[in-house]
């Protein structure tokens, strides 16, 4: 039973990270129909900027805020410099643009920072907490709690604020949103900034556990994308569920089946889900009411 809880906790921790990346995918996809493959680079920026600012003597909370700010600036810059000028391009072209942006950001990070791995101190120490026979790093609570807070804030923002409703309106129908006076370009820039912030927060929270380097974003983007697909692209609740599910699949797969096929196991289940329910677990069916 202790083993079961150990797998559960490690699955939830990793899953919360995937969920945050998937959430970033979702927000941008909703507002602009772009699948942003530079999402992992926001996570990298969150971690790397915090590490270097902290090393330069900035207190940790301030360094974290600075990192999130840098990610937001890069996210908005990505929209204005790369996505907005390509207005009207096909979905595939836009995806290629974001892949290019991801390679570019990785290259810049390699030059601005360095090629080494870095770590951050854990926020509340390294003494593991014993829970039902499982040893849990205190940082895991930060990651899981952080993910929960981000999801909650995003929900409140989208459902309870005027700007949030404007985002939803833009995602539902861009032309109609424009006609009722919503500045859709600003809304889309906001979505890029918002998802960059989510990525940045993820980077700050996970670096004490996972370590960071200029190229950590690649794998995270892949796993986050898989999580978003599993949950249903464009659905924030789906992103959360998809991320947690993917993390749990990996942990239980490695624990009870074989660590050799850990990644394969997760992806086979995702493929199976997509065969049965092509919209993902929580995806909207492509029926539009008129």
């Amino acid at each position: 039973m202790a083993e079961f809880f150990q797998f559960l906790v490690s699955g939830l921790t990793v899953g919360a990270v995937y969920a945050l990346v998937a959430l970033g995918f979702t927000l941008i996809y909703n507002a602009s129909d772009v699948v942003n493959f530079a999402q992992g680079e926001f996570v990298m920026l969150g971690g790397m900027v915090t590490v270097f600012a902290h090393a330069a003597g900035v207190p940790l909370p301030l360094a974290a805020l600075l990192a999130i700010a840098v990610a937001v600036v890069v996210g908005i810059g990505l929209y204005w410099l790369a996505i907005a000028p390509a207005r009207g391009a096909s979905a595939v072209s836009l995806i290629i643009i974001t892949i290019g942006a991801s390679i570019f950001l990785r290259g810049v990070a390699q030059v601005v920072f360095d090629k080494q791995f870095h770590k951050l101190p854990s926020f509340s120490g390294d003494t593991p907490v014993q829970m039902m026979g499982a040893a849990v790093q205190p940082q895991s609570f930060w990651v899981i709690g952080g993910a929960a807070v981000v999801v909650l804030l995003l929900y409140v923002f989208l459902e309870r604020t005027l700007v949030g409703k404007a985002v939803l309106a833009t995602s539902a129908n861009k032309l109609a949103a424009k006609l009722v006076g919503i500045n859709t370009a600003t809304i889309m820039a906001l979505a890029f900034g918002g998802s960059a912030a989510i990525g940045g927060i993820a980077g700050v929270l996970i670096t004490p556990i996972t370590l960071t380097s200029y190229d950590v974003g690649t794998l995270l983007a892949l796993k986050g994308f898989a999580a978003a697909m599993l949950g249903g692209m464009g659905n924030p609740l789906g992103a959360l569920a998809g991320g947690l599910l993917l993390g749990l699949l990996e942990a239980f797969g490695a624990g009870y089946v074989s660590s050799t096929y850990k990644d394969a196991f997760a992806f086979i289940v995702i493929l199976a889900v997509l065969f049965v329910a092509p919209q993902g677990l929580f995806g909207r069916r492509a029926v539009e009411r008129v």
Binding site: E3, Q6, K119, I209, T260
Partner: protein
């Protein structure tokens, strides 16, 4: 000050002040006065942690050798290409070195993949090639013109198992990275384990980019009777394994890492969890802790201080491999008093008692590596630093 020493000082100053322009400086010299040594390194890309210090080391020491008068009466002209870790590019550059640049010798090849891709080119052109790659395939079977400087993963396994045997541990678990290094070392460990009476009772793997290994370690923890755990792997993976190991309270079972983590950044990344971890590593890592009568002490301390002063980054064993390769080559040229490729090759093969950063090298027609297990030191992490384990503990 005499006129001559004034001139000498001026020359030294120029050599120090213009390290970046050394290529063009030697490039203008006529072909008779220079000897061209080629190099293909993975300076950028995923293996840049190997190629970058190698590149810096070669440039640094070629400048020094030239400032001291060169080799066999000629200045060295270094031609370095960056393959970005790509074996196809490496092969293209190797062909370019042979056909266009007409190098007489080659020191380089950061990874096993790039080295294996380049071997046929240099074998065919009969140009001596000292590789900086780890795997034993490079020199086994022996190829006439191919040599290498780094210790092999097989030696690392043997060193670890030797230590296990001394402590009478016979039942172990392995958790290996699935990257090239981890997979290759795992295979070597499985092969040599019976020789040391070691039984591998549990085996797990992790991806090179995985951020959590608690699931695998929990399985190992549940396996009965395990006396030690061995982790072949490099990069950040072993650091996370070490952290999770402590998190799960497994520290009472000794953990062995490989030479793949032999750099200060491992201790930094793993933090207090690294306490008590043992690993085989080259003397370079503990240069200042070696006893004064150790034959390698002077070489490794000199290299460390030179590298750190010039490159402004901590020394790693990888740059040391390039140092060894360059000087084995240069000394062979000196002994041959010639830069003829075939004569140089013969002299490299006769290298005897060369004291490098990686160990004391004695090559032979059947051994193009020339290192034995004494090249590895057994280290333990204590108080956030490496400590040299006395033999037999």
């Amino acid at each position: 000050m005499s006129r001559q020493s004034q001139f000498k000082n001026l020359f030294m100053a120029a050599a120090v002040a213009l390290p970046a322009s050394i290529m063009s400086f030697t490039g203008t010299a006529s072909a008779q006065q220079t000897v061209k040594i080629g190099s293909v390194l993975s300076v950028t890309g995923p293996a840049s942690f190997l190629g970058e210090p190698e590149d810096k080391t070669l440039r640094m020491y070629v400048d020094k050798i030239n400032a001291a008068g060169g080799v066999a009466g000629k200045k060295i002209e270094l031609v370095i290409y960056d393959d970005g870790g790509d074996a196809n590019k490496a092969r293209t550059f190797a062909t370019r070195l042979v056909e266009d640049d007409k190098v007489v010798a080659m020191v380089g090849g950061s990874t096993t993949g790039t080295t294996m891709a380049m071997i046929p080119v240099f074998e065919e052109a009969q140009v001596p090639f000292i590789s900086l790659a780890g795997a034993i395939e490079v020199v086994e079977p022996v190829r006439k013109f191919v040599f290498k400087t780094p210790h092999t993963d097989k030696m690392a396994c043997e060193k670890i198992f030797e230590n296990l045997k001394q402590r009478s541990f016979t039942k172990i678990a392995m958790i290996s990275g699935t990257d090239g290094f981890g997979a290759s070392m795992r295979a070597q460990c499985v092969k040599v384990a019976p020789t040391y009476g070691v039984q591998i009772v549990a085996e797990e793997t992790y991806g090179p980019r995985d951020s959590d290994m608690t699931a695998q370690l929990t399985k190992i923890k549940a396996a009965p009777g395990i006396q030690a755990v061995v982790n072949p792997g490099f990069g950040q993976g072993p650091a996370i394994v070490t952290r999770n190991y402590a998190q799960l309270g497994m520290s009472s079972t000794p953990l062995y890492q490989s030479h793949g983590v032999a750099s200060k950044s491992f201790i930094e990344l793993a933090g207090p969890a690294a306490e008590g971890v043992r690993l085989p590593a080259a003397a370079l890592l503990v240069g200042d802790k070696l006893p004064d009568n150790d034959p390698q002490k002077k070489v490794v301390v000199d290299y460390k201080s030179t590298f750190e002063a010039t490159a402004k980054q901590p020394v790693s064993t990888f740059g040391g491999h390039a140092y060894d390769g360059l000087f084995i080559m240069v000394e062979a040229m000196k002994r041959a008093n010639s830069t003829d490729a075939k004569k140089v090759r013969d002299e490299i093969e006769k290298t005897k008692g060369f004291v490098g950063t990686g160990g004391i090298v004695t090559m032979s027609p059947t051994d193009h590596l020339g290192l034995d297990l004494s090249a590895f030191r057994m280290l333990e992490v204590k108080g956030g630093d490496w400590t040299l384990l006395p033999p037999g503990t």
